[in-house]
Amino acid sequence: MADTATASATGGSEPAIGRGLKGLLLVALPVFLVGWLIIYPIIAAIVSTLFVEATDGVQFSTASYRFFFSDPYSRANLALTLWTTGVCAVLLLLVGLPIALYLRFSTSRFADLVQSLAIFPMFVPSIILSYALIRTIGPNGTVDILLNAVGLPKIPSPYLTPWGPVIGLVWDNLPLTVLMLTAGLAGISNSAVEAARDVGAGPIRVFWHIILPRMGNSILVTISFTVLGIFSSFTLPYVLGPASPEMMGPFMLRTFNDLYDPLNAKTQAVISFVFCLFFGIFYVWSIARNQRSQSR
């Protein structure tokens, strides 16, 4: 009895070394899985694209990378991927931020409805979304029929143009953006906003000087997160996008599956990975910065 009392009083029942071991065991499985299923394939891909089998044994060669960057077709695909990712990120912020602000500061019942609508796309598989978009904003789709009914001209259809995947990807990634931005906004205290209002700040000033500086970090996290998803997206660009240039996802699959060319497919994957790594480092850096500022 006396023992338990002292243990609970100090807040821990085991010596520090035992706890450390338990902690290591707990993370061992995920670390092992990450090492086996993610780190190892990455290293294997990099090694196998750089050390290629030649007539006289395995040789170091950067030929496949040189081919990628000297080939205008591959470069156009990479450029389109970067363009799509950039445009989607900007549009997501432009659309997501007002919704998140509204959800944070509104107290009406209507806000619940808006929230559930904003989260809804999360539960729609992208292949279904693709076909639904062809039906609605595609040529002679629902939107065209409605416009036609009131005597307006048809919209120029984004189907099979680079804007098709952009619209689909923005719709698909909106829930994640709104959720992460709302979470970031939750960290801003009402009292700070009210204090600013009391000294006469208008809504724009409050947003610019009080809210934005406090949520910079969550915006960075949101962008790096969505960018990672969009860069490697497959279904929407595959179904809605143009035949050429194509995004890296469909391009890699085609190189591997249709052209039976694993070496170039792996090269494309490594190049995509390097770009994603850049955003990943950005994400880790902003998280780390956030934790440092909180621990200070």
């Binding site: 077709y73 156009a76 389109l80 363009w83 076909y131 062809i134 595609g138 040529p139 002679n140 789709g141 259809s157 189907y159 099979l160 143009t161 680079p162 804007w163 595959y238 179904v239 996008g241 143009p242 035949a243 050429s244 240039p245 085609r254 599956n257 249709d258 052209l259 039976y260 060319d261």
Partner: protein, 381 residues
Amino acid sequence: MNRREFLAAGSAVAAASALPSLALADDKTIQVYSGSDNNIIDFWNNTIIPAFQKANPGMKVKLVDAGDDNGLRAIADRALAALKSKADPQADVFENFDARLPAGGVEAGLWVTFSAENVPSYGKINRAAIDMPQQLPYRGSQVLLAYDKTKLDPKDAPKTWEQLVAWVKKNPGQFIYNRPDKGGSGGNFVRRAIHEVNGRDPSKFTIANFSADYAEKSLTPAWAVLKDMAPFLYEKGAYTSGNTQSIQLLSQGVVTMVPVWSDQVLQAMSQGVLPETTGLVQLTDLALCGGFSRLTVFSNGANKDAALKLADFLLTSEMQSAVITQIGGFPGVTWDNVAADLREKYKDVVPNSIPTFPGGDWNAAINDGWYRNVATGLARG
């Protein structure tokens, strides 16, 4: 979870994973895997399997939808490994597969070589359909042109490649085909263009005569023809990403004409996806290519003999007629081996000869060449 619970749970999982192989060991069920579309899966489940089990009491067929060709490839890889270790691959038949895969499979004897000895009806097969003896062509399909009769009078429908090109150029934005690697309807349209610039002679292309130089020489003029056509296509050179999307654009009245697979278009019409006013036409100077679905049988499958019986059953007049009536395909056997009334009824849709284009290295050359030469040059966005 304490250690005892963990061990109990672990052994339960291990036992569960061992179960299927135990259950299969003394079962006479033929394991069929298919990577085909839903209409084919339905055709097997509703027609072929009940008829086969009725004709062969005691035999059972289990059809597993492997999703797509990649799904089948994974199982074939496993079966090749099982062949080397003399284990049961737990698969007997692939409904439609290229026996050239997995690499080294044919050399290792992974697939049964079909002949009149193990499949008595082998002689009935259409000679033109036989590609290699490890594959059994049991159903075919061909690409036709489907058009909207309300916009194009059937008597003005193009009957030759030249008329088709003239029609496309006269009616800009009214024609679209899909990317050649994303579906056979566009793929075979592209191959028809290749035939056109090579003297309309399908025999000029075989799997064996592929070489990078010959491909360069024979394909380049076709890219020029297709590129010349591009500005007159839907959206001045857009290409759908699959057979279904082409049919969708036709059904939404966006375009007037698309190339389609015969089986898909007949089914779309019977289901009301396409209206009654859809017309079908085949080019008469040289038909658009078709393709055969080829069955393969594992030589190391546990039920190899039963599987060969199933293969033979597929070539019966009854099943071959069902291929025509139920899925709008055409038979793998010659036309004198199907019911006479069917021969008469479908003579417009199915010609006596179907040009085919070899696969193998040609596929990669055509797909890559098309993407690089025809699909590019779109200044949009």
